[in-house]
């Protein structure tokens, strides 16, 4: 898939994945890899960016004597996800047009 397209979709996929429930980095990466092929180092910058933009917040939870960072969706993140969903509908129209 085209790299620019992938980058655009990645944000939407991450937001949608976190929307299914708070999740930690490793699990989130597995969820993302299940739908799109990206290199394993791509996820962190995306998470960090979404966090600085206020779409994600984080908290720590103890697991097996160490801390795990959990990501959860903020209201701004939910709004963003909604916008992405709308854009994906537009995209579906474009795809239909291309295949007609």
């Amino acid at each position: 898939m085209d790299i620019q397209l992938k980058k655009g979709l990645l944000d939407a996929i991450v937001l949608a994945a976190v929307n299914k429930g708070d999740v930690y980095g490793y699990k989130l990466l597995q969820d993302v890899l299940a739908v799109i092929v990206v290199s394993e180092s791509t996820l962190y910058p995306v998470l960090r960016r979404l966090e600085t933009q206020g779409c994600l917040t984080t908290y720590h939870q103890e697991h097996d004597g160490r801390l795990r960072k959990y990501y959860s969706l903020t209201p701004a993140g939910k709004l963003r996800l909604k916008e992405y969903k709308q854009q994906c509908l537009d995209l579906a129209n474009i795809i239909n047009f291309i295949f007609q």
């Binding site: 620019q4 980095g25 490793y26 933009q53 779409c55 160490r66 701004a76």
Partner: protein
Amino acid sequence: MDRETYLYELSKELAVLPKIEARQAIQYYQEYFDDSIENGKSEFEVITSLGTPSSVATQIIASSNIKDSQQKVLEEDKENPKAYTQTNPKTKSKTGLVIAFSPIIFPLVLVAYILGFTFIVVGFSLLFSFGAVAVATIIGGIASLLGSIPAAIYFGTWILMAELISAGLVLIGVGLLFYLLTLKTYQGVKYMCKKISSLLLRRKQK
């Protein structure tokens, strides 16, 4: 390379970032190592699938640069453009909206433009090549017709003349066919250009 060396190399590469940014990234990758190993992977496997510390660092630094420049655009009339580290949440959510529209729509529009451009280029190339073939074969045919008489006189055989005349007629015929094809292609390209431009312009206005 083991895990500790890997993380150490990574932290050295990240030294250009603000300390807190670098520390968060290292913590993320520490946790990633822990979780991967807990899920049955070896340190070696994790390291190979992540790539070199410098490539991982480059991605982190690149994305933090993009963030800087996007916020700088929003803050260009502020006195201190480096204040992005302490921006208040309001500015941040505004940035969020701006970015939300760009990453997915921009590539799509770009692809649409590239596709349109490609169709037009292909159309014009076809037009040009058909036209060139038409002109070349007709000229060749006429040359063959004209050349038949001197050739027959020079070589002294009428069969050669007959051959040249028939070849000339065939070439002119083929040339006329290509001429028709060129006309049709021209109409097609014109129609396509109109369609594509109206489509792209309509998208833009939206």
